[in-house]
């Protein structure tokens, strides 16, 4: 992509905008612009202010300070409706779909009045619109029945309906596989060639480097600079994002002095989407579970934790048969699951950091049946310091924390329970920014050094290679490869996932 010259008009411009939520300054004095026909990427860790910046650009949030202009029209504050009128389209990371309505109805609600066909022609119009953008979807399907990838494409089409001058894409590829990413990028390129300015927000740096003309980096709500993509590297971007180079991103492995002692012993375990699985994990060991998404890894972890039922096979924990008929049974034997869906399954989003931290150990903090606030406070402060939880106060609801800090809060629980023997971590760093990741790795390794066994499921091979002592690779529900510590490396894991042994199972 050749970068458009400075003569192309600026279609979106934010000048010195700031926004605070309570005590947290989410965005501080940021200026950002996007020209017509340009793909301008915005990168930064979670909680660096990207979403807030997009919210202000779209009119969903009102800036506390600063000015913004869409296609030359200045405004201080507005509404999403006004933003759309002025020529701004936005595809939200969490989508704007009405799951109960059909694809056609969702499109119909999204299209501006002047382009809206009569109601009777809605179905035909919707099908034609989808075809125009090359998106293969059944217009009469209920959106709730679509896959996340399909919903993502629908979201982009909805954002394009008002024929915007500038298109904002917030993490558009989170739900997409490699092929779908290419399809989306083709659509984005095509729109940018048509003169639309594109603001592309993403975590995935290789994608950003591939598609963007310019890249702006945010850290802690402050812009670190805008760079031409052509001369940029991933390492340099990461350095700007986290403010330090990416070395020593993983804690030291120190398992040599360990006396091998099997803690978890699984034989012939079968369940929904996996099995039969044989597995042994030692005390103090971190076992990684790799594989392409959806090959039974999550189900295996959930079955061990008693969240889902296994249909056959045996599992023993510390010599005793594991009672995995319910989460409570597993918990009693010291098996803790860190769910991949923190907000739904681990945390109480509206409760404070304090309540979420101590909820499983209240009995210990309440000697006479009444909670000792001072002791609770001390415990929480101690944990927050140890895991480096960044928050305004311990009374802050966890839903207002960034993803990384939320995960740290759910991590406090196995730390506080004294009886934990096995931690099953499902995507422990999903949606967690680079800086906080290291804290989480360190916390997991610290537990292992205490003699706890860990099973970590992750879709990030680099993470598995850096964190784990050993990695097993799953495909179609069974273990197809085992990579010992001395062979561990990102490439080795990727090869195992896409490689011959995994393919053989498919055949």
């Amino acid at each position: 992509m050749s970068s458009p010259g400075p003569e192309t008009p600026v279609v979106l411009s934010l000048r010195g905008v700031s926004k605070a939520f309570g005590a947290v300054q989410a965005v501080r004095d940021v200026s950002f612009d996007c020209r017509g026909g340009e793909i301008h990427a915005l990168v930064g860790e979670n909680g660096s202010g990207k979403s807030t910046l997009l919210g202000m650009a779209s009119g969903f949030l009102a800036p506390d300070d600063g000015e913004l202009e869409i296609d030359g029209h200045r405004r201080r504050r507005g509404s999403p409706a006004e933003g759309r009128r002025l020529g701004l389209g936005i595809a939200y990371q969490t989508y704007s779909h009405l799951l109960d309505l059909s694809v056609a109805e969702n499109l119909y609600l999204a299209v501006p009045a002047k382009d809206r066909p009569p109601f009777a022609r809605m179905a035909k119009w919707a099908a034609a619109t989808l075809a125009e953008y090359g998106v293969d979807l059944d217009a009469s399907a209920r959106v709730g029945a679509l896959s996340l990838a399909q919903r993502q494409f629908l979201e982009v089409v909805k954002a394009l309906l008002p024929r915007p001058k500038v298109l904002l894409l917030d993490e558009p590829t989170t739900a997409l596989g490699p092929q779908e990413v290419q399809q989306l990028h083709a659509l984005v390129h095509e729109r940018s060639r048509a003169g639309v300015g594109i603001v592309y927000v993403s975590h995935r740096l290789p994608e950003v480097l591939e598609i963007a003309d310019r890249i702006s980096v945010l850290r802690d709500g402050v812009k670190q600079g805008t760079f031409a993509a052509a001369g940029m590297t991933e390492d340099a971007l990461v350095a700007h994002m986290i403010g330090r180079p990416l070395q020593q991103a993983f804690p030291q492995r120190d398992g040599d002095g360990r006396v091998p002692e099997v803690l978890l012993d699984v034989t012939g375990l079968r369940g929904d989407r996996f099995g039969p699985v044989d597995l042994k994990v030692e005390k103090g060991e971190i076992l990684g579970v790799a594989g392409a998404e959806g090959n039974g890894q999550a189900q295996l972890l959930r079955a061990l934790a008693g969240v889902e039922r296994a249909s056959a096979g045996r599992a023993a924990c510390d010599g005793a048969s594991l009672d995995a008929r319910s989460p409570l049974g597993a918990l009693r034997q010291g098996v803790v699951l860190l769910s991949g869906d923190r907000m739904q399954e681990s945390l109480f989003p509206v409760l404070s950091v304090r309540s979420n931290t101590t909820i499983q150990v209240l009995r210990r903090l309440a000697p006479m049946g009444f909670l000792n606030r001072r002791r609770e406070r001390r415990t929480v402060d101690d944990m927050a310091g140890r895991l480096r939880i960044r928050m305004a106060s311990v009374e802050q609801p966890v839903q207002s924390l960034s993803g990384g800090n939320q995960q740290k809060v759910s991590l406090t629980r196995p730390f506080l329970r004294g009886d934990v023997k096995l931690i099953l971590a499902d995507e422990p760093t999903q949606g967690v920014d680079v800086g906080a990741r290291f804290d989480i790795y360190e916390a997991l390794r610290a537990k292992a050094d205490e003699g706890v066994a860990l099973v970590v499921k992750s879709s990030d091979p680099l993470e598995l290679a850096g964190l784990c002592d050993r990695v097993v690779v799953m495909s179609r529900g069974v273990i197809v490869d085992e990579i010992p510590g001395h062979e561990l490396g990102e490439q080795r894991i990727v090869e195992a996932i896409v490689g011959g042994r995994a393919a053989k199972v498919e055949a």
Partner: protein, 333 residues
């Protein structure tokens, strides 16, 4: 929606026909012009307030203040629609009653939208205020209501009250609006998912505000028919808060918002009145009516939500919404 939206309508129509036929065969007094006319007139207040309530439910709220609002309107009528008034002052008196409704609606909507109170709490407060105000104005049933107004409201051709025809037309048009226009779709969208609605450029605040104002105005119109029924300024009128919600829910409205049918609401109101009408004919105590209504609501809730519940249970375990990336669609057999 879609095919499922018809379940309540078909079910209610079938129930009405079944109960009607059963009674008609056994009781000669049922299928008379007098009784049917009475039944339809008795349906009017409930039908009107339940139509209003359906609006509140559609945007994901409740309005329990309608019970006291109807009482307030009846009490107001006993002052503004006195016997021996000129046509002009009767007209102004009627406007005053609708004005009470509109003012209450704006009050409720302000509490809910601008002060962000949960609708059930906000309207509970309004309920209490209006109840007290009604008792202050009339601490016992007194103050006759103009009989020519009552006659006008009850105008019938044969067994059919003219107003009932009007209500039938209203609900049919309202359902067409709700399911066949963009604005109707926008109202449902607000009830289904307010954030998404706002992101799509719908003025969700305005929609919710108007829904509560319309609800109260409909309740005040129901007040006219309630006044025509009791014919006196009574501060104790039946509990329309729960029955109006019951009618809307029986008619297919979802308590979570976004779903409902005005036609269904009217059918449900008719059915509930029918039970009240039929029980005395069989010399059964009217208390049975209330118990029947309770049982029916529970049944309706279970029945209407069954497809969702089953669907949720079935998909819940399999992690719906997870990506069907390439392989991994099916586990190894």
């Amino acid at each position: 929606m879609r095919s499922r939206g018809w379940i309540p309508l078909v079910l209610l129509a079938a129930l009405i026909v079944a109960v009607g036929a059963f009674t008609a065969v056994r009781q000669d007094a049922f299928l008379t012009q007098y009784n049917i006319n009475n039944l339809l007139l008795a349906t009017m207040p409930l039908a009107l307030v339940a139509i209003g309530q359906t609006n509140a439910l559609l945007v994901g709220g409740f309005d329990v203040s309608v019970a006291a609002l109807i009482t307030m309107c009846v009490v107001t009528a006993s002052f503004t629609l006195k016997p021996d008034e000129t046509t002009l002052s009767l007209f102004l008196g009627a406007i005053a009653i609708v004005g009470v409704g509109a003012a209450t609606g704006v009050f409720n909507a302000t509490l809910i939208r601008i002060l962000r109170l949960p609708s059930i709490i906000a309207t509970l407060g309004t309920l209490s205020i209006l109840e007290g105000a009604s008792l202050l104005l009339r601490n016992a049933p007194e103050g006759e209501i103009n009989s020519s107004v009552i006659d006008a409201l009850n105008t019938s051709i044969g067994f059919m009250p003219v107003a009932f025809v009007g209500v039938v037309l209203l609900v049919v048009l309202a359902d067409l609006w709700l399911y066949r226009t963009r604005t109707g779709m926008a109202v449902r969208a607000v009830g289904l998912d307010e954030t998404s609605g706002r992101r799509l450029g719908i003025s969700t605040g305005v929609v919710i505000f108007l829904a509560f104002v319309v609800c109260s105005v409909m309740a005040s119109i129901a007040g006219f028919y309630s006044a025509a029924e009791v014919q006196i300024g009574s501060p104790i009128i039946g509990d329309y808060a729960l029955t109006s919600i019951a009618a809307a829910v029986l008619g297919g409205a979802s308590l979570a918002g976004g779903r409902g049918s005005f036609v269904g609401t009217l059918l449900a109101a008719l059915f509930l009145s029918l039970i009240n009408n039929v029980l005395p004919l069989f010399q059964q105590p009217a208390e049975y009516a209330q118990m029947t209504i309770g049982v029916l609501i529970l049944l309706a809730l279970v029945l209407y939500q069954a497809p969702e519940l089953i669907g949720r249970l079935r998909t819940g375990w399999r992690g719906v919404g997870r990506l069907p990336t390439g392989e991994g669609e099916a586990p190894a057999a």
